[in-house]
Amino acid sequence: MSNEPMTTKADDAIITVRNLSKYFDDFEALRDITLDVKRSEVLCLIGPSGSGKSTLLRCLNFLEQYDGGEVHLDGELIGWKDISHNPRKPLSSEALRKQRQHIGMVFQHFHLWPHMSALDNVAEALMSVRKLTKKEAREKAMTALTKVHLEDKAQNYPANLSGGQQQRVAIARAIAMEPRVMLFDEPTSALDPELVGEVLSVMKDLAAEGMTMVVVTHEMGFAAHVADRVAFLDSGRLVTCVPPQEMFGREPDDARVRSFLQTYRERNVV
Amino acid sequence: QADLLSDIKAKGEIVAATEMHYAPFDLLKDGEYVGIDRDLFDEIAKDLGVTPKYIDLPWNSILPGLEAGKFDFVIAPVTITAERMKRYSFTLPIGNATVALAKKAGDSSISKPEDISGKVVGTQKGTAQFEQLKAFSESLATPAEIREYTNIDEALADMAAGRISGVANSLPLMGYAAVQRPGLFELVMPPFGDPKFFGWVATGDDNSKTLIEAINASLLKMHEDGRLKAINEKWLGSNPELPTTMPDVK
């Protein structure tokens, strides 16, 4: 949890990814990814559609069972019971649950629970995981919703919310849990510029509180502003992982990255 | 005014329904319908000069079917009672419906009907035999406990399973069961209660008057020429003394 005493120094790795690979049948979605995420760091993942960004994120909390390599969170192997065996055996669902409690996630498709109001979507885990009373949970949920400017839509079911409102509920749901690490999959795709700004400031606050974040995004401006480092994925491979100044500030070395950023630059000079 | 008999003769066919599930009167043997009713009615159809056609129906739908005109006649043995005569026309008796008892083979505690006193006895619900059994049981010092089954097979199965000590039903039925599963069932002689008889049934209206008369005439003829006796001996090993007039039912 974020308010635990920090016994390790601030720039050591909280997530280590080693030679990660993942197949969907024959399709190689991730190949040999090696990557560290440091404590309190904001790492942005960018890359073309279908390059494996979501898949990488999903491997980090074992929603996808990766086929090769290892993912460690605070030194603890994520998902597999033990990888010396072949085939690997996943942890029990209870052990997985323990691990995942500390890893928050906002999905690309939100995945709100349609039968619960916005408020209940946020309050649910506070009650059953954080063991708050119903009242406390609702209050806390309300605070989280207020952060994303949704206090007046708290009672709406997801079906009666606009796209951006749904996305904000999903963000509120994840941050209310105060995990150690947050994974965001395009958290601002449905948001207008103003709200992107708001979410950005929420995330900056989180970062200041020591939260580690991995953010998939297509908004280069967002990446440039919020990230400590930016990783570029292409066809399942990690092409580069550098501070944003290097990625955006000057002409990137890698041809693929260069052409990727090209269109963006052209268009965004309004 | 319609007349069933002439219709049948015109068609050259009589359709008779029964429940092929009432040995020895009606049963399926190797997939074929046989039994006392079949043998008797084959003869009667011959006398009427028509071809018989038999259909199998559960008891539930035999009488509704008769009334809806889906067939002409019922050759399921029906115990002749006053109440039933109000609604349907009966033929002369075609079988003995007096109630008799079967026990589990080798059960030495029962040797005569009176021995059911205080024991559990099964019978088929809603039958005339049930009424007879009830009356008989009440005449005993300690009445028997009577359990009603929808079907006599189930009563027999329950006796085999050991839940009840005896099964009461019409004499021919119990006798036949004992012959079929000698190691399992045994007939307790003699039959008891009032003498009762089975008849066949047609609709209660005037249409079937002539048909009933014709069948009765044919039955009487079979009494005389010994065909009736032969058929009964074939199935029962003995000849029940069947009256040649309508029995008196109150």
């Binding site: 079906a159 | 329904a17 599930h21 040995a23 129906l57 739908s61 097979d153 199965a157 079929q180």
Partner: protein
């Protein structure tokens, strides 16, 4: 108890012959049930209040009255209004029409869990309602409702035994009749159960195969 395999062996051909009727009635009944059930479900969900209540009434009647009584009505009461159906047809029609009421409800339940957006996408493309149902809604409803549909079809196979009340010598009836002659109910009934099981297992396996085939992702 001496279990008599002889009895089984001896009567097996007759039971199998009777099972033919069970199969005929239930297969035809299933066809009616599925097709008519789908139509009924669509009617029940239609915007027109008249058709909607007609379908609701139909379902209420056919689920409410015991099938036995429906069969008796089809066979014995319809002649009074001038429709004299032969026994097999009456049995097929009654079981099929009754089962359709249940099928319609199963499909309706499944349809409700198809996200509305999918229907809207079809609307937006101008897809005709027939195609919408045939290509988008029904396949998904079948996937979601398959286990319940198989339940219903298996029940249909079993209730086909009621066809005996209109004089059809189907499996259960013949089993009972043979019992009446052999006085060996356990042997005969177990055999009949095995035959029913075989028929239903085919259904169930097909159901699972279809389910797998329609599985997404």
């Amino acid at each position: 108890m001496n279990f008599s395999f002889d009895t089984i062996w001896h009567n097996l051909p007759y039971l199998l012959a009777a099972a033919r009727w069970t199969v005929i009635i239930s297969v035809c009944g299933m066809a009616i049930s599925l097709v008519w059930g789908t139509v009924l479900c669509a009617t029940r969900l239609s915007a027109n209040p008249f058709w909607r209540s007609a379908a609701t009434l139909y379902i209420s009647f056919f689920r409410g009255v015991p099938l036995l009584v429906q069969l008796l009505l089809f066979y014995y009461a319809l002649p009074y209004v001038g429709l004299d159906l032969p026994a097999v047809e009456a049995a097929i029609l009654a079981t099929g029409m009754c089962s359709a009421a249940y099928t319609a409800e199963i499909l309706r339940g499944a349809l409700q869990s198809i996200p509305r957006g999918q229907t809207e996408a079809a609307y937006a493309l101008g897809i005709p309602s027939f195609s919408l149902w045939r290509r988008i809604l029904v396949p998904q409803a079948i996937r979601i409702g398959m286990p319940s549909l198989v339940n219903e079809l298996i029940l249909l196979v079993k209730v086909s035994s009621l066809a005996s009340v209109v004089g059809i010598s189907e499996l259960t009836r013949i089993a009972q009749n043979i019992t009446g002659e052999t006085y060996r109910p356990l042997e005969i009934y177990i055999t009949a159960a095995v035959i029913y099981f075989a028929i239903n297992w085919i259904l169930s396996i097909s159901g699972r195969l279809i389910e797998k085939k329609l599985q997404i992702g």
